[in-house]
Each structure stands twice: as structure tokens, then as C-alpha cells.
């Protein structure tokens, strides 16, 4: 496998979507190509960083209850089966 092939298959490799032969070929290339190893590692870290960042984000720490209360009020006012 060449570098351009590894990059082409990078997302599928990260998501474990490659078949056995391509996975093995990718692993062999990654073992010898420092640049592709960095690209894989930093792409995985990119995903992790955004996941970590968004774990800290959310409505809950801001005005969750206020919004929920008003929606619950609207929900209660709507009769069952009302179209």
C-alpha cells in the first residue's frame, strides 16, 4: 500500500470498515511510514478532542429547566389526539 492509498482508506480504517486484506496492508504501511502514522494518530486525536469538548457543552448547565418548563406547559395545553 502507498501513502495515497492509506489516506484514501483512512476513514474506513479508523471506523474498522476495511476488509482483512486491506486492514493488514494498511497496518504494514503504517508500521513503516512515519508521516502516515502521524496522520492517523492526529486524525483520531481530532475526533477525540471534539468529543471531549462537546461533553462539556450542553443546554443542561445553562437554562435547561426554564426551557423544559415552558415546553411542558405547551405539551399540557395540547389536548390528546388534537391534530
Amino acid at each position: 500500500m502507498e501513502c495515497q492509498d492509506l489516506i484514501k482508506y483512512l476513514s474506513d480504517y479508523i471506523d474498522n470498515r476495511l476488509d482483512e486484506a486491506l486492514t493488514r496492508a494498511a497496518q504494514e504501511h503504517l508500521a513503516t511510514c512515519a508521516n502516515c502514522h502521524v496522520v492517523l494518530d492526529s486524525t483520531q486525536k481530532t475526533i477525540l478532542l471534539y468529543r471531549q469538548r462537546d461533553q462539556q457543552n450542553g443546554l443542561t448547565t445553562r437554562h435547561y429547566q426554564s426551557l423544559y418548563d415552558q415546553l411542558a406547559q405547551a405539551f399540557a395545553k395540547k389536548p390528546e389526539g388534537d391534530l
Partner: protein, 217 residues
Amino acid sequence: MPCKISLRYVTSVVENTSNEQVGIAVTDEQALITALKQRDPTALAAVFETYADRIYRLGMNLLHDEQHADCVVQDTFLALIEHIDQFEGRSSLGTWLYRVGYNHCLNQLRKVKPSLELDSLDEPDMMPVNFNPWPAPEEMVFTSEITSELERAIATLSPALRAVFVMRDIEELSTNETASVLGISESAVKVRLHRARLLLREQLAPYFGEQFEQTGV
């Protein structure tokens, strides 16, 4: 974007209603939908608990504005309240909520840029050019500088790529669910995710490469 009902924001941190308190397992979707149709308030609490933050993050990542993201959550749940009687379960409740939230985001983006193009896949594939190693995530403290850098990088993605990255990699929806929310094929989701990941990595590489050089870990 005006919300449909006015909000009185609270500044204090409030606790969630837990699923245990409301007594409905969100995993039992059919029971949940039946309860929603019967106007069971605990059902609304369970859905809100499960999806409010997720819809909010979708709004924030696509619109980069807290008030607009609030409105996306509010209007999404108002749509649920309004249309629950017609909900036929052709998609999961979560997929339906994401789709409504996403469409609200698109409407807002089109107000700013009416010619917004979402379906273009003719962007060329890119090859990485920055090969500096990055620090390990556990070695990085989430400073405001890092948060700003992540914000800056994701803002450079087109809305089409950003939406796929947010749904697949941040909210961890499946390829099938993401395709259903966005109304595109699974192969289009895969292509966009691949491009989004590479573009984001390349955008962030100079900053984190420098961090690695400074810290050496």
C-alpha cells in the same frame, strides 16, 4: 431567528430530571411514543432529557450562536409536541428530532446566505501536508485557547461537511442514521466524513504540532 415562545433564561445551574425519576426507559421507544401521544408529561421529560443537549450541540456546531442554538432546541421540541399524533415511526424518534433540528439550522444558515449549497460533492480530495506529531489528548488541558482553536477549525468546514462530522464523530450517530437525518446516501455520508476529518486535522495540525514541540509529549 425568533423562538416561537419567549424564554426567561435562568442563570443558575439546574439539575436534570433523571430517567429514573421519570420512570420511562428511552430505549423502549414504542412505549415512549404511545406515552407522548397520551400527553404523559414524564414521556416529554424523558425525551427532553435524552435529546435536548444533543440538539443544542448540533445547533451550536452549525450556527455558532448560543441563542440560535437555544431556539433550535425549543422549536424542535415544539414541533414534536405539535406533530406527535402524526408520528408513524418510519424513522426513530431520535432521527426525527435530529432532522427537525437540522432543518431549523439550515433555515437559519439560509437567512444569512440564501445561496447556501449543501449537496456539492465536487470538492477535490485533499492530501495531508502537515506531518508534525501532536500531544496526547490526556496531556492537553482544555484551555480557552484550545477551545477557540477547535471552534475556529470547525467553522472552516462547509455546513454539509460540518453536519456530517458533528453527527457521526461527535454525536456518534451511525452512518445510516446520519444519512436518514440529512436525506443523503450512506456513501455520501462516508465521503463527507472522510473529507471533514482530513480538513479538520489539517486545520488543527499547525497549532497542535507547535504544542507538541513546546511540551515534547
